[in-house]
Amino acid sequence: MIITSDRTMMSNHHHKEFLGFFTTGPPIGMPEKLWMWLCAPKLKVDRWGRPIEAPYGLRKIEAALLDAGINAAIIDPDHLSRHLRHAKVLMIGHHDFFAMCSPSVEWWAITGVEPVNSRSFKRLMRRPEIREAKRRGLRIIVGGPAAWQWLWRTDYWREFGVDTIVDGEAEKVVVDLVEKALNGDELPLYVYVGPDDVPSVDEIPVIRGASINGLIEIMRGCPRGCKFCSVTLRPLRYYPLEKIEEELKVNARAGLKSCILHSEDVLVYGARGLEPNVEALLKLHKLAKKYFGTLAWSHVTLAEVKYSQEKYRLIDKLTEVIYDEHQDWIGVEVGIETGSVRLAKKIMPAKAAPYPSEKWPEVVEDAFAIMHDHRIVPAATLILGLPEEREEDLVATLELLDRLKEYRSLIVPMFFVPLGVLRDRRWFLREQINELHVEILRKCLWHSVRWGEDMVSRMYFRGLRYEPVKLLLRLFLAYVKRKARKVERQLEERGLESAKRGRAVSVVEASNQ
């Protein structure tokens, strides 16, 4: 019983989580091998080919199976062949099998080149040892947050001989599925785990081996209910500190030096509604710092940054705990999504809470200012092509981007991908890009290049061992600037419609190739 993924997932990205985002990009400006070395270097493994660190989601599945007495192990993709000779079941997880999630989807649409995550996954599935094992009766079960993509790519479902796709939190269904697979019983083709079948906190197993970059969950679900997000469909569950400590210890024992606290909004950990639980958050951060020199947050919401700081001075208090001789800044992902009050009211009515949606642009700017002052560096997302988007919404987003210019951050525009309550809506495709979208893409690019260069030089990579990575990133940024200027010139000379007829193709077209 083997659990694996391809190299873009099975990597610690040089212990720099942000470099992992390069796996969503196409290999441009350098050979693919170099690109893969930059963003997805190989992991250390033990003598059986088990990685010392592995993706957290795979660790949860491994733990659920081991707890049920099933002999399961995560195996590095380079060490699969010797295990596949005897394996009966192969489980594969991924964040973005076919580069259909954002931001992969827009890098592909803009450049016309398939991102490395999708290339790498297909290479894995086409390996002769997997095909051979499949011919011998290997059963393949696939899951993870991108499981929904297989509903759109049934051609690959056939080609790769996948037996079952599991979409949703799998801990409660996976043992039964694997037992059926091991016994040769019939497997369902597709399983969607609805909110009534998600595990309770007690039913979520504790990981047995270390997770990539020390990432651990502190809670599941999100109370804000944004319509474009699938996480909000599931109930809110907070891990107790004892459970969090068990996982921190697993990672510390494996020799990891840092951790990432994972939540859709770290600042609502233990909250009553959206009212921050200051005591729980301080305890959580002190606990994490007891085991690790540095820590990062996966996500926070901008409203919570503003509210918790203004009411409780929480950001002051947390950064006092976090910053010491090991760490003087923190990175985090945040969602701006739109600068339009009209759209915010429609698609994310609770995103600004406890402030009214009318104040959304102000909430965003105030939160950016607070983060800038506290050396918290956000990687922010915007969504282009939201359902019912109008020109006035894009103008509002452009105005907001102007207000964010002086705050240290990366801002990544993403094409709308139908997920969550909106999962039956239409994709946003390259053909729908208009002049205002281009202006947003352009503003975000120059903003992120400016601050990206600043971070590469001064904050993100410290120490001689990162010099090769730094050099490569600087060369890449120089390449991006050169290309961007060329595209800007072309747009000025020939206009958008002509540029759209250029080399790039739509993702749907490209993914059908």
């Binding site: 049934t154 479902w157 399983v191 969607y192 609805g194 009534d196 039956d424």
Partner: protein, 69 residues
């Protein structure tokens, strides 16, 4: 938790599923047996229904037309 088992014959339109399920709002788990000539085709037949579902647990099984009725 209330479960339902539904078989979608080859001649039945997949849109019929939505109608059937709207009549049983308390059903939280559905085992869907879909007739089709190949396994993946069975999922393709009910893809729109699967994409529109967010609240129920669903297991989809493929059935050859007429098999095990």
């Amino acid at each position: 938790m209330k479960e339902a088992r539904i078989r979608l014959s080859e001649s039945t339109s997949p849109s019929e599923l939505t109608r059937l399920i709207s009549q049983a709002p308390d059903v939280r788990r559905i085992v869907l047996e879909v007739e089709a000539n190949d396994r993946v085709r069975a999922v393709e037949r009910v893809r729109d229904f699967l994409l529109s579902n967010i609240s129920r647990t669903i297991f989809v099984y493929a059935r050859k037309p007429g098999e095990g009725e």
